[in-house]
């Protein structure tokens, strides 16, 4: 029995051979009927729609930074060959293979924040929760993947997106624009996704002093550290909560960036906590 529901976000005709199908060993498919979605939330695009969305989301992401869904769309439409390469990297390591098999997700339902907060200081789990609180963010704001056709690659993309906060907490970088860009350079050197490099265009939003600091101090660190560290997509973070963070960094080959400036926490986490409190209020 088919588990697929024909999405009501229906889709117009697809040309005879999808360009993405050329990347895999799957035989080319002739689709003359509406392509059914391959996973919940899947929106198949033809090459024109893909290009249109890539350009449109690039402009929108740059002009309106709050549109996280546009950055996500940009990442998916420009993933190209980098995504299968990431998946292959995962297949080469034992830990990565386990991730692909078990497909863990990261959100406040799958991660017990209270348990992590109780871990001893100096562990990775504790430092992650501390970082979340310090920045005022939650792991729930990641847009699900829509525009990747292969379900396994869609999972790799989702995993990449969800692990971004781990890289933040490991390197000790806050969420302001200049540190996000630095981390994107780091991700590009480490993982190779084009969107990480494209995010560098966000430097136009920075003041010149911040920009010069970014390029003189953080970008060299990001490129050196990112390229020499182990491929972070292969790390099964959920099994390493108890690991000492210094030891973890040494194992992965990461060293600290120059000391960042921390700002006031964002209101995301507080709003999420208020919503949770409202839901649990006794009647």
């Amino acid at each position: 029995m088919s588990l697929l529901i024909v999405s009501r976000s229906g889709h117009y005709l697809r040309p005879t051979v999808s360009y993405i199908s050329l990347l895999h060993v799957r035989p080319p498919q002739t689709r003359s009927l509406k392509t059914p979605p391959a996973y919940p939330g899947h929106i198949p695009l033809n090459w024109f729609e893909n290009a249109f969305l890539a350009v449109g989301s690039a402009f929108m992401a740059l002009s309106s930074p709050k549109r996280g869904d546009m950055v996500a769309a940009l990442g998916e439409t420009t993933a190209g060959l980098a995504l299968p390469r990431l998946r292959d990297r995962m297949l080469e390591s034992e830990e990565g293979r386990r991730i692909l098999k078990e497909r863990p997700r990261i959100n406040s339902n799958t991660i017990d924040m209270n348990k992590l907060a109780q871990l001893p200081e100096g562990t990775f789990g504790h430092s992650y929760v501390t970082w979340l609180e310090r920045c005022g963010v939650t792991p729930d704001t990641r847009e699900p993947v829509h525009y990747i056709d292969d379900p396994e690659l869609a999972y790799v993309m989702q995993r990449y997106r969800e692990c971004h906060d781990f890289y933040h907490s490991l390197c000790g970088l806050p969420v302001s624009v200049e540190y996000e860009i630095a981390l994107k350079f780091f991700e590009f050197a480490n993982l190779g996704l084009p969107v990480a490099a494209l995010s560098a265009t966000a430097v136009v939003r920075l003041s010149s002093s911040k920009r010069s600091r970014l390029f003189s101090e953080y970008v060299p660190w990001a490129l050196k550290c990112g390229s020499s560290a182990r491929s972070l997509i292969t790390v099964y973070w959920e099994n390493r909560w108890n690991q000492n963070i210094g030891e973890l960094k040494k194992e992965l080959g990461i060293w600290d960036p120059p000391e960042p400036k921390w700002r006031k926490p964002l209101s995301e986490a507080k709003e999420a906590a208020m919503k949770r409190a409202m839901l649990h209020t006794p009647q």
Partner: protein, 299 residues
């Protein structure tokens, strides 16, 4: 389960079966006797269509005007101007107009401006009626920037086009009834037409501007490609909402053809007359049928 019959039903004027696929409706599940209707290409219970449409317009209201300009590349303004210049409100003295699904006030503003500029008429009134409060709020906000705010010329009402309350909208009280790009969203078009007939005075004009069927096959091909590829993506990019715009392009395909709609209008008791398109019906195609103006006079 996908069935082969999907591709083959559809409008015979469309040469390619791929276009026929676009007209496909999922049949209601066997054994169900609940009354259903279409919501875009989906089949939904009749009672829920109204709230589904409300959900769509709640979410598009704040970016409605921007999206209209982006999707039609500004052409919707030409259509609406054409619509008003056809009706010439105020040419025979002040008119009482009712504009249904008038939400953001495009038509109402044009009516009042036309009457004022062409005939120095400041007695024409327009009652803007919409089922959706968010859209009315946008209209109210826009009218605040004009000279008609706080005058008796404009009023906003939240009501259902299929069942206009008789105390607020008494029978035989309006000279002009307009509905632009709204009638395809009502659950029962004959009911909306019946209400239109009720509130209009004898001799009053019914006018409807709506998306319709494109007859030219080449234009239809381009139009379909544009509708199903570009418009949902524009919705995703500009408004962060793909589903509402997908509904929009699907609902255009589900709307009856020009002939069928003209017949429904005359069944509701209007004299449609005219022979503008040579098909015996009173409609005028705009841009090859992408949009269409239907008019009728209450007898």
């Amino acid at each position: 389960m996908q069935t082969a019959s999907r591709g083959l039903r559809g409008n015979f004027r469309r040469a390619s079966s791929i276009h026929a696929r676009l007209n496909h409706t999922q049949p209601p599940p066997p054994g169900s006797n609940a009354s259903t209707t279409h919501f875009g290409f989906r089949t939904v219970p009749e009672e829920s269509k109204e709230s589904l449409v409300r959900g769509v317009f709640d979410s598009v209201a704040s970016s409605y005007d921007v999206m209209n300009d982006a999707m039609s590349l500004g052409v919707h303004r030409l259509w609406k101007d054409n619509f008003i210049s056809l009706l010439r409100p105020g040419s025979k003295g002040p008119v009482r107009c009712i504009d249904l699904a008038g939400g953001t006030g495009d038509i109402a503003l044009r009516i009042l401006d036309w009457a004022r500029e062409k005939y120095a008429d400041r007695e024409t009134t327009v009652d803007v009626v919409d089922i959706n409060g968010e859209m009315l709020k946008e209209g109210y906000k826009r009218f605040k920037k004009t000279m008609y705010h706080n005058t008796p010329q404009i009023a906003f009402h939240e009501a259902n086009a299929q069942a206009l309350p008789e105390d607020v909208f008494p029978s035989n009280s309006y000279d002009l009834y307009t509905i632009a790009f709204g009638i395809r969203n009502v659950t029962s078009i004959p009911d909306a037409l019946k209400e239109a007939h009720r509130v209009l005075k004898p001799g009053g004009t019914f006018a409807c501007l709506e998306f319709n069927k494109v007859t030219n096959p080449i234009l239809a091909q381009v139009y379909d490609q544009y509708s199903f590829s570009v418009i949902p993506l524009l919705g995703t990019i500009l408004a962060g909402d793909r589903d509402s715009y997908q509904y929009l392009v699907e609902s255009i395909r589900k709307f009856p053809s020009q002939q069928d709609f003209a017949r429904m209008i005359s069944d509701a008791g209007f004299a449609t007359g005219g022979n503008f398109e040579g098909d015996g019906g009173a409609w005028r195609d705009l841009w090859g049928g992408v949009a269409c103006i239907h008019t009728g006079v209450k007898v």
